[in-house]
């Protein structure tokens, strides 16, 4: 069982929330050993996770990793075969979706095409019999997402980004206990996605008490928006932590490679150096790094170093320097991406645009600070 409890970091982003948006006390979401299976196939395996009130937790993972199933279990669209789902201290596992008071935004917006924008937003209030609140809430929620002037339009008359804003307004109009976002930006093009990402962050600053479970395969969205990130693989939560911590000190090889595409080099013979540092042998040389996970002496592990922490400027440091052959150099506008072969391993290095980038086939020596290196185990069970 993966047992990970989230410690909420202080929210510094909150600004004064509009009265319309903060009607209720913030509440959290709890997964207690939740498993979901279709026949003999297990989709989600014993997920235990607590999303504290008012925070954004992003679940990321590749297709089929179980992240959407976890979200759908909270919404009530899939029934867990084991475990409990808690929302605001209440066990909702057996409650139908309509009784959970959840706001949900999905990838393809799912606006009701035969209803005007204002009727889409009012739908939940009508369904819950709160017809006296429709005028006030619809107006407030549309204002919150900047769609007031489009109230009379049909969804087909809106762009993708506008439709997604309406979908968010519709979800917020019922003042949900929690907001579930299922790849909400995936259907948008890159430019609108960036803009919507900013707007989602702004929205959460306006609604600091809103608890959000955000499912995405895009790590940029997760890193930008979330307080905590959970990485899913084959139906299991294999890594969980606050955004910075998970990025800087991934708990295992998969997390290191999945989140931020770190360079991961196989190493042996771990020796403790004191002060939290350790030395390992990679090929015929020693590399030093932070033994953040307290790996035992002599164990095999991986040297994890981020592409932007590699430097090829001349350095006096005797340790942590690797020499390899440049395989490719890509100019990506704001940075250069250099692929380097070191024996059988490949290193990726990113840096600010270079006036004279190295030519493919040339030899290059790169250096990295031991403080920027994390020694990670292969096994995902080392995560705690």
């Amino acid at each position: 069982m993966n047992t990970m409890t989230v410690e909420r970091e202080a929210q510094q982003l909150a600004t004064a929330a509009p009265a319309a948006a903060t009607g209720s006390e913030a509440i959290g979401i709890g997964f207690e050993g939740v498993s979901v299976a279709y026949g003999s196939q297990t989709i989600l395996e014993s997920l235990t996770l607590t999303v504290k009130p008012g925070e954004i937790v992003a679940l990321i993972g590749s297709s089929g990793s179980g992240k959407t199933t976890a979200l759908r279990a909270v919404a009530g669209f899939v029934q867990p075969t084991a475990g409990r789902i808690i929302i605001g201290g209440r066990d909702v596992t057996r409650l139908p979706p309509y009784a959970r008071n959840i706001g949900m935004v999905v990838q393809n917006y799912a606006l009701f095409p035969h209803m005007r924008v204002e009727d889409n937003v009012a739908f939940g209030l009508r369904a819950q019999g709160q017809t006296d609140l429709i005028k006030e809430r619809v107006s407030e929620c549309l204002e919150l997402v900047g769609m007031t002037k489009y109230a009379k339009r049909y969804p087909r008359e809106l762009s993708g980004g506008q439709q997604q804003r309406v979908a968010i307004a519709r979800a917020l109009a019922i003042r949900p206990q929690v907001l579930l976002l299922d790849e909400p930006l995936s259907a948008l093009d890159a430019q609108i996605r960036r803009s919507m990402l900013d707007e989602l962050a702004k929205l959460h600053r306006s609604l600091p008490s809103l608890t959000v479970l955000y499912v995405t395969h895009d790590q940029t969205e997760a890193l930008t928006l979330a307080n905590h990130i959970g990485i899913m693989r084959d139906g299991r939560l294999v890594a969980y932590g606050d955004v910075q911590g998970l990025y800087r000190h991934p708990p295992n090889r998969f997390a290191a490679e999945f989140l931020g595409r770190a360079n991961v080099l196989p190493a042996q013979g771990l020796e403790s150096l004191g002060g939290g540092y350790a030395r390992v042998r990679f090929r015929d040389q020693y590399l030093e790094g932070v033994n953040h996970h307290g790996l035992a002496t002599g164990t095999e592990c991986f040297v994890c170093v981020r592409p932007h922490d590699l430097q090829f400027a001349p350095s006096a440091a005797a340790t942590n320097s690797l020499t390899g052959v440049v395989r490719s150099v890509q100019w990506l506008g704001e940075l250069h991406n250099i692929m380097l072969s070191v024996g059988d391993e490949t290193l990726r290095l990113t840096c600010a645009p270079l006036a004279e980038p190295p030519e493919p086939g040339t030899t290059l020596t790169v250096h990295f600070d031991p403080a920027d290196v994390t020694l990670v185990p292969e096994a995902e069970s080392h995560v705690s």
Binding site: A75, I102, L111
Partner: protein
């Protein structure tokens, strides 16, 4: 100069081939005229001219003022409308269950119902006699169980028998477009509606029904069109006093040899069918365009 020639030449060269291509329209057109329009023209001429071949609307006036014709058109419309409403209700419920209530074999049942489209219509009437007829399965069972002297179920040889048979035969015509429509309906809409607090009945009314409306209208119009012209079931059931327009044409032409009256009624029947067909096409075009716009 040379450019003009270069443009003119292919145009000149294309002209004969285009004319030849157009000639290919002639054979199917001739066949169509010979097989359909000519017999149809004969019916209209007989209806207008009668045996004296004097063209006037007198025959129409005479026939349309008879009680037989009035009853025929009343029965035709009443049965067609009732059967179509029944098909719409049953087809909608069946399609909803098959599309949205997951159960093993749902797809198989959908296909099984679909096979009804390929069966001759009177077969259902024949099958119903074995089930609901005086000596049918249900009546015999009830008579034995309850020690009754006469069969308790006695609806098959009435207009209700005709309507029930037509509903059974034509419901798949509603279900086919409906199931296609439901398969394209974004399930996320239903899920989001549910998460917003909508119960199943509200979701059916406010999300599914509006999406299904074009299919319902198109299927309903098609049903109406087919039930107006239904002949086999009405003849096979042989319900007392249930004479529809197609049956009236049959009686006049085959039993009474009154071809003029039969042709007048046939023209009215054709006009009714064409009117319904125009409505059906208009609905399909309107919602087809609207769906394209929504898409």
């Amino acid at each position: 100069m040379s450019a003009d020639t270069a443009i003119a030449l292919p145009a000149g060269a294309r002209a004969p081939s285009a004319a030849l291509r157009n000639l290919w329209i002639a054979p199917p057109l001739l066949i169509l005229v010979a097989l359909f329009f000519y017999p149809f023209a004969l019916i209209v001429m007989q209806a207008l001219g009668g045996d004296q071949h004097v063209f006037s609307l007198a025959n129409f006036e005479r026939v349309m003022h008879t009680r037989q014709f009035a009853n025929g058109i009343y029965n035709t419309i009443q049965i067609a409308v009732s059967a179509s409403i029944g098909c719409l209700a049953l087809g909608f419920i069946f399609s909803l269950v098959i599309a949205f209530v997951p159960f093993p074999g749902a797809r198989f049942i959908g296909r099984l119902i679909d096979t009804f489209i390929s069966l001759p219509t009177f077969l259902v009437a024949l099958a119903f006699t074995f089930v609901y007829g005086s000596a049918g399965l249900i009546n015999q069972s009830l008579m034995q169980t309850l020690h009754l002297q006469f069969p308790p179920l006695d609806f098959l040889y009435t207009r209700w028998g005709v309507i029930l048979s037509e509903i059974t035969v034509y419901t798949p015509f509603i279900m086919r477009p409906l199931l296609a429509c439901f398969s394209q309906l974004d399930s996320a809409q239903i899920e989001v509606a549910s998460s917003l607090g909508a119960r199943p009945w509200r979701i059916i009314r406010q999300i599914i029904l509006p999406a299904a409306l074009p299919s319902l209208l198109a299927g309903g119009s098609l049903c109406l069109l087919l039930t107006v012209n239904e002949f086999g079931i009405v003849l096979f059931i042989g319900a007392k006093d249930v004479i529809t327009l197609p049956l009236l044409i049959y009686n006049k032409a085959i039993q009474e040899f009154d071809y003029t009256t039969a042709c007048v009624i046939a023209v009215v029947n054709i006009a009714l069918s064409l009117g319904l067909y125009v409505c059906y096409r208009a609905i399909v075009s309107f919602f087809g365009g609207r769906r394209a716009a929504l898409g």
